[in-house]
Amino acid sequence: MNSLRFNLNGAWVEETGVSPTTTLLRYLRDRRGLTGTKEGCAEGDCGACSVAVVEQGEDARPVWRAINACLVMLPMLQGKHVVTVEALRSPDGYHPVQLAMSKALGSQCGYCTPGIVMSLFEASYRTDLDAPWKLDDQLCGNLCRCTGYRPIREAAQAVAGSCPEDRFAAQLEASAPQGMALAYEGEGQRFTTPETFEALWDELDAHPDARFVNGGTDLSLEVTKRFALPPKLVSLEGLQALKRIAVVDGVVRVGAGVTISELESFSERRFPSLHRMTRYFAARQIKHRGTVGGNLGNASPIGDLPPALIALGATAVLRSRAGERRLPLEDFFVGYRKTALAPKELLAGVELPLVAPSARAVSYKVSKRRELDISAVAASFFVDVDAQGLVTAARLAFGGMAATPKRASTAERALVGQPWGQAAVEAAARAIAADFTPMSDHRGSAPYRLLVAANLLRGFFEETRHDRQPALRPGHAATVQALVEVAHG
């Protein structure tokens, strides 16, 4: 099929000849005159370009999801429904989120406002906004420089979960999932979306130089920031098999196509450690598009999933036409942004053992700004202790400390076999300096990174005294919750 087809504001549009790496943002503004959607940064860090798309939520229920139009390429929308800010007002009047924003004076200069309206649009149809932090999370990907956010929060509280029974609710019901299969060429670039592994292997045989893309939240930056025109992309979004999370025989298998927001809701009750890492992972718009496979396959030293999954003892599942092979996730990262993937091989997912109740496990992310930032230091700790109180296993995994996600092996050795207590923890914390020679950059100096890495281990010990796998508490001031429990206001 050599045409792009998606539903834009209620009408199907078909495009041929256009470059497949055209972002939805540029398409809306340059070709459709839909200038309500703004470019604030072209890197998914401000949210001014937010639009809503229909995705399959839990139990395959269609849901509205806010995404960054600046980071989504047109072929990624194949068969999907997209709504932009212009469509919200109907002849019957304004959408409730528009009225709520206006009433709260949630706009001043108005430039971020369409994006905020679209994030609130998602929020208004959500049924899972059961905690205040989820509203903050909903909106953390939308920067506003004028209001100080109080009125935006107020508008969000007014509309979140209100589930208006309107034409957008009806559109959800009517938008049955369509196939994404695509083999598209335009402006000399190729973009394919195979829906079977066979088709994928065939495409790779024919185009061994094609690059994988999933949600595209990172790869799109090459287009929007470096102005590259990737000649051949193979999207994995059509492979339903990669989108599943399944628990089989005490092992959790997470497909590479699972989005971060899906992993976040899955882990909320089952994997507190993983959930803490997904929570401050990125903006919600990014979490909706970013995938497990993308975050791991990037092999970035500052990716947040690698330390969290390595600490939990994850195994990488690699798949090619020849079949599957497995290796410990930490061995998947072989160098700076380099993986163990062979040519024409795919990261299909990861397998995680369930965490034993005896184990302590927490993930931490320290960044300059809590929300929507890249780690200065990411850390994930797993320590199992036997009945005698001796450490039987320790996995201390870090991001931001080396050229790859890496375990602190010296520090781990200082723990294993020792009584789990202040003395061993202090010895291990001091040993971290022997494990890493971090770099100094604008996210943190080397001394800061080393001190934080050691302190996180100290805090981990404090934090897991009473609850071995603690969730984040409301109002926490820091990624590590080492508060002494005393009566206070």
Partner: protein, 766 residues
């Protein structure tokens, strides 16, 4: 109103463009449909921070398909100068390079792709020279933009020598990117007979007009600059939009085609100026009870490569180094450093925040050293009765509202109880501390360049009783149009739905000042009021005739003219005026009375009045990571009798959070080449929603009408930004609580988690 009829003035108004914002129909310059034949352009920047430009070879670039022109300094028909005050800034570098990225050529083409391809082919030959990047380097190399400006009163040397407590130190504050969500953009349209129409995102359309005329060697009447609205300005579009407007104009002139110049985020952050970083070295003396006796301080600003507004900004820092405190013997010296960085520029507060940060940090340090109560020390030093009512620049403070604001805020924020709770919390914790702090703001209102304090308006009323309002101010989100419409509706008695705020344009109101210095509604409001009064008084006899009542009994309200219990719709009055051959349009004009400043003497009355406020911030800080959370904020702010309390609250909240960003997480990191490493929101972190306190209580001071300002109001744009200094004071208190009493906290600004963690480490050290 007394007679029960509705006026929008002083009411909780919605933002005039709010419903247009939420639908996406609000248009910004980059949203305008591309006119046929429109070209775009790309700046080619210098590859070094300082050097001699030996040549620019654009021959290959011109051959790139889609490229229409490559312009260099030689193509400028007029004066190749865009400096707004001092002509020390070239539009396109001719011989010397002063910062990395300085424009040396402009590639004009059919698409950004073509322009980028062309720009890549432009060969820039530069002989690199050593660059000066920091204030310290500038001091060492005697690199300045201007002579020192000194405020001196009394004998600070003698007073310092006598002081019971005397200490010295440095205060460092960082720069700040404006991060308006809409980057710089201008669309230039050639029109017939050597004229140009510009749509420009600028706070200062008249200056854009003047500079473009200067660059093209035209007269100003050949150019119309129109500002639809801005997606934020914050000072960043006061002078610096002129460069990009001049590029677009020059390219339009050379190609004869419409040209748009739009910066992407990275370009905008890399090439435009920011808030000035400051380094202050001080020597201060207190009495044992915490009374300020003397301050001797040198304030160095990092101006970047050219003057831009740096002198006035450094002046305003001096004028605010007292904040709300009486300094009996004082010497303040301000000096702008010349460095090889983009030219730093206006940013909300305009030097005021940097000056105020000095004295607030000094008081915090004094309290850390002595253990005295910061609230009492601050209160003790407020301006009072003569002779304790004179600023370092000899303006009398005769309306000090800080004592009242402090008292009311201490009570409403429950300060004493919470202070005890914070202390109890800190007693019980190992790795966390809380801090609570109250800081005041006193901010002078007026352009300190006195002649700028003027404004104009043009009211156009149609025979059907509808009106278009033009004034010299620009709308950047601050709600200026909302306030001007309220004033207009109030004066004319028109319903707000019948009045339209027009785009700001130089062909409607000429010779305007920038919408800046918080002065937008003070100045333009008076001009609007006057224009409306002129038309209303022309309508009065007409209405009197229709109502068969004496003219002096006629009132105009709520879309009607009323007298003696009778009423007539205003559209009948305007229709009748038209038939009676009465003019229905008028201009208004205002200048601020009784202000002046003599810079040579360091004396005068630069400010029409002061705006006041105070904030209480409570933070919790982790001693493990340096992360922190703002738990609660209480603000009491003085906006006089608010023209629109909902709009003013938004300015207070937004200013506070923006100030907090400057003081905490927003960090400009330049590398050794002078290249900004934090040039996008990926690495430059303005506050996000989760950084705003969940408990955010803002109250506007009641019963606070201000004499001789439009309808009793006060300016609100800038002052609240400095309320965020309470966050720094609270963070310092939390850091201090990690260590023994009596130890001064070592914490530079911005207070990033890293800076905080190392401050905690220093505090905890044996």
């Amino acid at each position: 109103m007394a007679d029960g009829y509705v006026t929008p003035l002083h009411q909780p108004l919605l933002h005039e463009s709010g419903l247009k914002h939420v639908t996406g129909e609000a248009k910004y310059v980059d949203d305008f449909p591309a006119p046929p034949g429109m070209l775009v352009a790309q700046v080619v920047g210098a590859p070094v921070a300082r050097g001699r430009l030996r040549g620019v070879d654009s021959s290959e670039a011109r051959q790139v398909p889609g490229v229409h022109a490559v312009l260099t300094a030689r193509d400028v028909p007029g004066d190749n100068q865009v400096g707004p005050v001092i002509h020390d800034e070239e539009l396109l570098a001719s011989a010397e390079i002063h910062f990395l990225g300085q424009a040396v050529a402009l590639v004009v083409g059919e698409s950004y792709e073509a322009c980028r391809a062309g720009a890549a082919k432009v060969k820039v030959d530069v002989e690199p020279l050593p660059a000066v990047l920091t204030i310290e380097e500038a001091i060492a190399q005697d690199s300045w933009l201007a002579d020192p400006h000194t405020l001196l009163r009394g004998d600070p040397d003698a007073a310092l020598a006598r002081a019971a407590v005397r200490f010295q130190g440095e205060v460092v504050t960082g720069g700040q990117d404006h991060f308006y969500l809409e980057t710089h953009c201008t669309l230039a349209l050639p029109e017939e007979g050597d004229s140009l129409k510009l749509y420009c995102s600028t706070q200062h359309p008249s200056e854009v007009q003047a500079i473009v005329a200067h660059v093209l060697h035209w007269h100003r009447h050949q150019i119309v600059v129109e500002v639809p609205r801005m997606g934020g300005g914050f000072g960043g579009k006061e002078t610096q939009s002129a460069n990009y407007a001049a590029f677009a104009s020059l390219a339009a002139l050379k190609t004869g085609r419409p040209v748009k110049v739009w910066l992407n985020r990275d370009q905008d952050m890399l090439w435009t100026g920011k808030r000035h970083p400051f380094l202050t070295r001080f020597d201060v003396g207190f009495s044992a009870d915490g009374t300020l006796l003397a301050l001797d301080a040198q304030l160095y600003s990092n101006g970047g490569f050219s003057n831009d507004l740096t002198r006035a900004i450094t002046d305003r820092a001096l004028f605010h180094s007292d904040n709300g405190y009486f300094l009996p013997d004082v010497r303040l010296v301000g000096r702008p450093a010349r460095t090889n960085l983009p030219s730093n520029t206006a940013f909300r507060g305009f030097g005021g925040p940097q000056g105020m940060a000095v004295i607030e940090d000094i008081i915090s340090r004094f309290c850390e050293r002595t253990g005295l109560d910061p609230v009492e020390v601050r209160r003790r030093n407020f301006y009072g009765a003569a002779p304790r009512n004179l600023t370092p620049y000899h303006q009398v403070v005769d309306d000090n509202r800080l004592p009242r604001i402090f008292d009311e805020l201490l009570a409403s924020s429950d300060y004493a109880r919470r202070s005890a709770e914070v202390a109890a919390f800190n007693q019980g914790q190992v790795h966390a501390r809380r801090g609570l702090a109250l800081t005041p703001v006193k901010f002078g209102i007026s352009f300190t360049t006195s002649f700028l304090n003027q404004a104009g308006a043009l009211l156009v009323v149609y025979a059907d009783g509808s009106a278009q309002l033009n004034h010299g101010g620009t709308e950047m989100g601050q709600g200026l149009h909302t306030k001007m419409l309220a004033i207009c509706a109030h004066e004319l008695g028109l319903r707000p739905s019948r009045i339209r705020a027009m785009n700001t344009a130089t062909d409607k109101v000429p010779n305007t000042s920038a919408t800046a210095a918080s002065s937008g509604s003070d100045l333009n409001g008076q001009a609007v009021k006057q224009a409306c009064e002129v038309v209303r008084e022309r309508l009065r006899p007409i209405a009197a005739g229709l109502l068969d009542a004496p003219a002096d009994e006629v009132r105009f309200a709520d879309g009607r003219a009323l007298a003696q219990g009778r009423e007539v719709p205003l559209e009948q009055v305007t229709q009748a005026a038209y038939f009676a051959q009465v003019s229905l349009s008028a201009t208004g004009y205002y200048r601020t009375p009784d202000i002046s400043y003599d810079k040579a003497k360091g004396r005068g009355k630069p400010f029409h009045y002061f705006a006041y406020g105070a904030a209480v911030s409570e933070v919790e800080l982790s001693g493990l990571t340096g992360e922190w959370r703002l738990r609660r904020v209480d603000i009491l702010h003085d906006v006089g009798r608010s023209l629109a309390p909902t709009i003013d609250r938004g300015q207070v909240e937004g200013g506070f959070i923006q100030g907090m960003g400057w003081l905490t997480n927003e960090e400009l990191r330049f590398d050794e080449r002078g290249w900004l490493r934090t040039h996008s929101p990926d690495t430059y972190k303005i506050p996000a929603l989760g950084d705003a306190p969940e408990d955010f209580r803002v109250t506007l001071l009641a019963d606070a009408a201000q004499h001789d300002v439009i309808h009793g109001s006060k300016a609100v744009g800038e002052p609240p930004l400095m309320l965020a200094l309470s966050v720094v004071a609270a963070l310092r208190a939390a850091v201090a609580a990690f260590g023994p009493p009596g130890r001064e906290v070592k914490l530079p600004m911005p207070c990033t988690p890293e800076a905080l963690l190392f401050a905690v480490e220093a505090q905890r050290a044996p």
